[in-house]
Assembly symmetry: C2
Homo-oligomer: 537 residues x 2
């Protein structure tokens, strides 16, 4: 008779959850012991919970299917919350398993007792505590379904230790074989209204978000833009933007309020396809937070829970009936042959020479980015030139910092590499952000993951130097500036990576960086480059 | 006219809060800018919020006064929660300042928006969001008072960015000059009842906790134990246990349920002085969680909010009127001269030779621990021999993992060193726990803190090997054991420390460790020793 933990893992596997990013403790020892009974579940050990949750996010962004986590009580969940916050903003499916004290132990208020439900509620679309092992099969099934909605969600299952170690009796509840009903249907009314706006003769823009940043949505949106002259934009921080190769290019809405306002200036109709109405990341004294221009009407073609790509396709058929989408199933470029969307791509950047800067490093990345790369971008200020430099690279995916909680890049890269063992992962990291969840490198070494990490080491929280100006705190003195400085002492990322088993090099010229980046891509397994650049602010 | 941030910092300083452990973001930039206007506030930059909160815990454990933190929105608070959990369990005063979006920005649900109040509620004794800069002076005052109660608490002040940047109008509320009323009075009834139990002729034990583990409580408890034959114990994980020199020795209640049960076996009267009734850390199949033996009566002499040391002194006067406490103000050993408590101390351990093990390393630490040391103990399984080896060392403080959320040691050591610049700090760390908040080393290097960190590097989560047996999951196979293994790849703590500017060495023999430990203590500033030992489980 299997115990609760064995039942749990077996049910997860039956529901397609085959990877567990884990940092277990005592209350999760039966789960750990049960791994030998269900070899189909791959357990990946992480040295910190923020690595586990971020890896689960990266895994699901690439597979579309949830991984599970295994976290130790309230503090373990707390350590993983920041990256669950990012996952929530990305609409990522995750089955988040949090061990708890045995039910009879909770009233004793032992030292590790805390309010797991309150913590879980802040990031989860679904939370349940299983109190009887007989309910485990149902609860796990419901968790997987809750995670796998449209959009995906964090589904947190709280697992008391005694439920894990008990042998389930017969289930009282019949398992409802409920499946996710898929995204909401396309609204014909919304399509008609969007078409009318596009035909109004007034300036229009389409803002893509969620699943509309994948191939089908991009191609449909491109047909619309070609036919109507609408501007094509996507949300500032897409969970997964498909790019490069023959895909239509889409400009991301700027992070800086002034830049985003300029992109939307004069727009009278803003059509939201899977994206939310745009707002600034932060408030600034005397500036509007709502980025929709005065006099502009923002209308939803499809919400985040509807099928934005299908809605775009319907809208394209309405406003551009003559155009043909490329065959996304085969990846062939049918559209390019018959529509004006066939873009003559600018050449990729040359290999840079001379000074190593954020700009020249970006050129090297653009010059060398391999086909099929998964790019995880937490480069922050140093990433300014990356979109331009890589726009003409071969087909790749671009994963961004969806929720603004830094420390996401290295873990997401780790999970993406677990998800896609045949594809090169390129992780572009800011130094300050890298130090949040640096422990991810150890898991990359342990699992032999093909991740090339570039740390843009500018010895500062450069974005905060900028923000210090933005919020009007411009008269900042020496003590304030010291709080944004990472140069005393400097961080030696070569030593840090080496300490966790990841081969690493330091680049101080563009030539060194280019050579090191090329070599890291050519060799399997993880590598890190300490890319020493001046701050751009 | 000062703005909100300047008013905030000025008020903190006026209330005795003079250190801020910070990891700020955009919404905290006015706080950062205001640091130059209030030079009495010392800001200490941390590379991760868990370092900031743990450092605030260590600082207040040593000074008795709160430091403040500065955290960035919900995700920043989330990253700091695990060590706030430990601080809550320690009864540590902390003024926890969490920046938030401007009030008018919150309804926009920008990417970093999350439920800060829910997160804060899980660790805080007091939570307030200031919504008008005119209220800041009052709210900050109340936060400091709420933090500084008996016992101390985490008081969380949520600070919207626009409150920070506004200039406060006249305060609507008069500032109530409320001061902490101090710990609750001693209950004469509880003293009488405890005295009666001690005189019953049945086996009795006194369990010390909270402030009763400081000198006055220890000396009073020792008088009682000498006079009545009661066993003297203290809680398993004291926030700050004063030890060594001429202080009475007190045995800590064991972490392992079987060990703790043996310590309490046969006790008929358990007198709780500032300690809670003892329970096991975790539940184990078929074992009781309540450690109070069947037939034993646990009675509170003083709760955690009462003055346990005063209650013990009253009880000592009742049951041992002839004994005299030593003069704790001068540190002279008056009591030892006149009471049987004058213990002939065993000699300190010799410097060890031969194999480097947790036991021989502990001997070296016991042999060399300097007078006035602050020992931060997160050595976990490798710490088994530490209490014995250091019992006869010169006077020192021992700070432990109060809440069980690992990743506490390096941050607490950092804060303790900021609090006590003249005292050597010795941080005894397990390898797995060290990797949670390793970023603390950078702050130690930056601030030139005199911390000697010993990482017991046994390449495993050794305690989980033990717990895997304890919970009955004894048939664990290879895949389970791999999840507790840290040897693939091994962690090179010398490289990791060097990467953050902390000089480090590796010891593989007892002689090497002893020489390195002695040298690290002799040199100012931070040092780390990668102490390679076999796991004890």
């Amino acid at each position: 008779m299997p115990n609760g933990a064995q039942t749990l893992i077996r049910t997860l596997v039956e529901r397609g959850v085959e990877v567990c990013f884990a940092n277990p403790g005592t209350s999760e020892m039966h789960f750990v012991a049960a791994l030998d009974d269900v070899p189909e579940m791959r357990a990946v050990l992480c040295l910190f919970e923020g690595v586990a949750t971020g890896a689960a996010d990266g895994y699901a962004r690439m597979t579309g299917r949830p991984a599970c986590t295994l976290l130790h009580l309230g503090p373990g969940l707390a350590n993983g919350l920041a990256n669950l916050h990012n996952a929530r903003r990305a609409g990522t499916p995750i089955v988040n398993i949090v061990g708890d004290h045995a039910l009879h132990h909770k009233p004793l208020d032992a030292p590790l007792e805390s309010d797991i439900d309150a913590l879980a509620g802040t990031v989860s679309g679904w939370v349940r505590r299983t109190t009887d092992a007989a309910d485990l099969k149902v609860d796990v099934t419901l968790a997987v379904i809750a995670a796998s909605g449209s959009p995906g969600a964090v589904a947190t299952l709280i697992l008391p230790a005694d439920v894990s170690w008990s042998e389930p009796g017969p289930s009282a509840t019949a398992i409802a074989m409920v499946h996710d009903s898929g995204p909401g249907a396309v609204s014909a009314q919304a399509v008609t209204a969007a078409a009318k706006a596009l035909r109004s003769g007034e300036t229009a823009a389409i803002l893509l978000g969620g699943a509309a940043t994948h191939e089908a949505g991009l191609r449909a949106a491109s047909r619309i833009a070609e036919a109507t002259g609408a501007n094509l934009l996507c949300e500032t921080f897409p969970a997964r933007l498909e790019r490069g190769g023959d895909l239509p290019e889409v400009e991301r809405l700027g992070y800086l309020a002034d830049f985003a306002s300029a992109q939307l200036d004069g727009v009278k109709h803003l059509i939201l396809a899977g994206a939310r109405s745009p707002v600034t990341f932060f408030a600034y004294p005397g500036k509007r937070g709502d980025l929709v221009p005065e006099g502009c009407e923002a209308r939803e073609l499809a919400t985040g829970s509807e099928d934005a790509a299908a809605a775009l396709a319907r809208l394209a058929d309405e406003v551009a009936p003559g155009s043909v989408a490329s065959d996304s199933a085969t990846g062939e470029v049918a559209a390019d042959a018959v529509t004006p969307a066939a873009v003559t791509r600018a050449p990729r950047p040359q290999r840079p020479t001379g000074s190593l800067t954020a700009e020249s490093a970006s050129q090297a990345i653009g010059a060398l980015l391999p086909a099929g790369a998964i790019v995880v971008d937490e480069a922050n200020t140093s990433g300014l030139w990356l979109p331009g430099a890589t726009a003409n690279a071969p087909r790749h995916d671009w994963l961004t910092l969806t929720g603004g909680a830094i420390g996401q890049g290295l873990p997401v890269a780790t999970g993406a590499a677990v998800a896609c063992p045949g594809r090169p992962v390129v992780c572009l990291e800011a130094d300050g952000s890298a130090m949040y969840t640096f422990q991810a490198l150890w898991t990359q070494a342990r699992e032999g993951l093909d991740v090339t990490t570039v740390v843009f080491n500018n010895s500062s929280y450069a974005i905060l130097n900028l923000e210090l100006q933005q919020v009007g705190a411009s008269a900042a003195g020496e003590r304030a500036r010291q709080l944004l400085d990472l140069s005393r002492p400097g961080l030696d990322f070569v030593a840090l990576a080496t300490g966790m088993g990841v081969p690493a090099t330091r680049a101080t010229t563009a030539e060194e960086f280019t050579a090191q980046f090329e070599r890291a891509l050519a060799e399997p397994g993880p590598h890190l480059i300490d890319c020493v650049v001046p701050p751009i602010f």
